[in-house]
Amino acid sequence: MRQFIRGAFVIARRDFAATVLSKAFILFLLTPLFPLLLGGLFGGIGARVAAQTETPVVAVIASQGEFARLLRSRDQLAPALGRDSLVRLVGYELEADADGQRRRLLASRDPPLRAVLSEGFGEPRLVGSLDSSAIEQVRLILGTARSESLPAIRVTNVQASSGSLDRQRAITAQVSQMLLFFLTILLSGMLLSQLIEEKSNKIIEVIAASVPIDALFVGKLCAMLAASVLGILVWIGGGALLIQLVKHGGVATLPPPAVGWPAFLVLAIAYFATNYLLLGAAFLTIGAQAATVREVQTLSMPLTFAQVLLFGFASTAVGAANSPEGIAAAVFPLSSPMAMIARAAEEPGLWPHLFALAWQALWVAIILRLGAQLFRKTVLKSGPRRTWWRLRRA
C-alpha cells in the first residue's frame, strides 16, 4: 500500500505540475470567458436587432397632456409586462389633414411605426398592423391612463411559501446538475488523452516497472482532478464576484437548497469530485487503449454523447428524487453524483448522501482496477494467454 500511495503521489505531482505550470493552463482558466464574451457579443447584437424589429412602435396623435398620461401609464405597466416587450409610444400633434397624417405615419420607417392611435381617450381608434397581444397592451395602457393610477396593495413578504420553495429548490437542483454536468464534460475529456504522452514517449515502460499500473491511473486521475478544482475555484470566485456585482443582493438571493447552503456546497464539491473521478476513470480506461491522438479524437464524440445521455437520465431525479427513475439514477454509478446533487437541493437529510458518496467511491475503485487490468493486458500485453472462452471450452 505504501508503494501504491507513493507511486500515485509521484505521478500526480508530476502531472499536476506539468499541467498547471504550462502556458496552456492560463488559456484553460480563461475558457469560461469565451462563452461569456460570445454570449455578450451576439446577445447584445441580437437584442438590439430584436428591439428594433420586434417591439411594436405605436404613434399616438394626441395632445401633450394626454400623451404624458399614456407614457405614465406605460411606465406603471412596464414592471409587470416587461419593459422591452411593451409597445413603444411616440407622440405627434394633430394636424389638419388627419387621414393624410395617419397615412404618412404608417409609411414612416424612422421610427418604424406599426400603428397609429388617435381620436383621444373617449373613442380611441387604432389603425395599423398589430397582433392581438400588442392590441391588448395598448388597451391596458389606455385603461390605466383613464383611471390615472393603479390600486395600492399592502404587501408583506415572507421568506418562502411552500409552493415557491419547491419551485426554487427545483431551480437550484437543475442549475447545480447543469453546472456539474458542464464542468465534468469540460474537464474530464482531458483524461482521454492522458496516457498518450507516456505511451508515445515510451516512459510507460519505466513507470510500469516502478509502480503498480493502478497507481499510475490513480495518480493521473488525482492530478487532473486537482488541476480542475484549481480551475473551478478561480471560476467560482470570478462567478460569485460577477453575481455580486450584477444581481441585487448578490449570492444571498439564490434559491436555497433543502440541506442548507453550507452542506450543499460541501456536497457539491464532493459530488463534483466523484462525478469527475467516475467519468474520468472510465475515460482514462478508454483513452488508455488508444494508440494515437487521432484515435482519442475519434473516441471523444461518442463519449460526449454518452455523457449527455447520463445527464438526461440524472435529470429525471429533479422534482422526483424518490420516484423509481430518480432512485435508479441515484443508484447507477455514472449518473449517481448528478442525481444526488439534485436530491441535496430538494430533499433534506444527509444520510443518503453519505451512502451515495461511499457507493460512488467504490465504483471509482472498481473502474480504476478494471482499467488498470485492461491496460496491463491489452497495452502492456501482460496476463495469461488463455482467454475466458478458451478456458470454458477447455
Binding site: 508530476r14 514517449n201 516512459i203 515502460e205 516497472a209 501482460s382
Partner: protein
C-alpha cells in the same frame, strides 16, 4: 499458476532467478521455458539475435508483464514490484518527458523508485556534473542531443543506487566514446556491489563485461553459463602454413579443413595438438607457422544461437 516460494533473500541466493518461464502472445510463443540464475554482484549478459525473446524475458523479470507460466524471483521476491525500490531499469525504447528539465527527469525517475525528490535533485546535479552535463541540468530534455538524453535516462536508472540494474540494449544508438563510458559505468556499478543484467546482440560488449551469459534463441535458452564455458563449446581453430604443398602430411588434415590464402584453417582434432604435429612432421609438411586459436564469444554465439535457431525452425516444421 505460479508455484509459491518463500520470499526470503539470502546472500547466497541468486539476485534474479527464472524457472521455466513461458510467455505467449495470442498464438505466438515469445518465451519458451526460459530458466536462468543471475549471481548477486555479477555482470550478466543476455545475448540473442533480434526477436529472440530477450526484451520479453527482461519485462517478465521486472514485473512489467506476467508470464503465462513459470516462476520468477527477483532480489528474493516473487513479485518484482515489491523490489522496485532496489531495481533500476533502462528500457530498449528510451523515453523521457520532453518538457522536463534534465535534473527533474532524473529526480522523477528516482522518486518513482522511492527516492525523496529533494535528495533526487541533489544527486541528479552531482551525477550530471560528473558526466559533463552540468550546464544542461535545467534545460528541457527536448533541447538535449540524443546521446545526452540517453545519458540522462541512464543516470535516472542508477540515481537511487539500486542493487539490481537491468539494461535492455544499452549500447544501441551510442557512439564509440559513449559506449566506452557506459562500459566503464557498468563496471563501476558492479564494483560497488550492484548486480547488472544487460541484453545485447553485440557480442563484443558481453565479452568485455560479462562473467556469465545466457544465449537466447527462438525464445529458449540455448546456453547459460560462464563466458569461457561458451567458448569451450567450440573446438580451437588451427591455422597452418607449410613450405610443401603436397605430400603424405595432407592426410593428417581433417576433411573439413579449408584454405584461406596460403593457410589451412581447421578445428583442432579430438586428439589434440601433439598427434597432429607428429603427423605433419612425419608427413613432411615443412611447417612454417602453426597457430592454435581459442574461439571468441562471437564464434560461440553464432554456433550456439545459429544451431538453436535452426533446431527451433526444424521443430516448427516437424509440428
Amino acid at each position: 499458476m505460479l508455484r509459491q516460494v518463500q520470499n526470503v533473500a539470502s546472500d547466497t541466493a541468486p539476485a534474479v532467478e527464472a524457472i521455466d518461464i513461458v510467455k505467449d502472445f495470442n498464438e505466438t510463443r515469445a518465451v519458451d521455458g526460459v530458466s536462468l540464475a543471475v549471481p548477486a554482484g555479477s555482470i550478466y549478459g543476455l545475448l540473442g539475435p533480434n526477436g529472440a525473446g530477450k526484451t520479453t524475458t527482461l519485462r517478465i523479470l521486472l514485473g512489467i508483464i506476467d508470464p503465462s507460466s513459470g516462476l520468477r524471483r527477483v532480489l528474493g521476491r516473487e513479485r518484482p514490484l515489491d523490489a522496485a525500490e532496489e531495481i533500476g531499469y533502462l528500457p530498449e525504447e528510451r523515453g523521457l518527458y520532453p518538457t522536463m528539465p534534465a535534473r527533474e527527469a532524473i529526480a522523477f525517475m528516482g522518486a518513482l523508485r522511492g527516492l525523496p525528490l529533494a535528495e533526487g535533485r541533489r544527486r541528479a546535479d552531482a551525477l550530471l556534473h560528473e558526466h559533463g552535463l552540468g550546464e544542461w541540468a535545467k534545460k528541457p530534455i527536448r533541447t538535449l542531443s540524443k546521446g545526452m538524453a540517453q545519458t540522462v535516462q541512464l543516470l535516472g536508472t542508477i540515481i537511487h543506487k539500486p542493487r539490481l540494474i537491468v539494461l535492455d540494449e544499452p549500447f544501441s544508438g551510442l557512439d564509440a566514446i559513449n559506449q566506452a563510458r557506459l562500459e566503464e559505468l557498468i563496471r563501476g556499478e558492479a564494483d560497488a556491489g550492484a548486480t547488472i543484467i544487460f541484453s545485447t546482440h553485440v557480442i563484443a560488449h558481453a565479452e568485455r563485461l560479462c562473467e556469465r551469459i545466457a544465449i537466447i534463441a527462438g525464445g529458449r535458452v540455448a546456453f547459460e553459463g560462464r563466458v569461457d564455458e561458451a567458448r569451450a563449446r567450440l573446438r580451437p581453430i588451427v591455422r597452418l602454413r607449410t613450405r610443401n604443398s603436397a605430400g603424405p602430411w595432407l592426410d593428417a588434415l581433417p576433411a573439413a579443413a579449408r584454405r584461406e590464402g596460403d593457410e589451412y584453417v581447421f578445428e583442432l582434432p579430438e586428439g589434440g595438438p601433439e598427434p597432429l604435429l607428429k603427423a605433419l612432421i612425419d608427413g613432411g609438411a615443412g611447417i612454417e607457422t602453426l597457430a592454435i586459436e581459442r574461439p571468441g564469444l562471437h564464434d560461440a554465439f553464432v554456433a550456439i544461437a545459429g544451431n538453436a535457431a535452426a533446431a527451433a525452425m526444424a521443430e516448427e516444421k516437424g509440428e
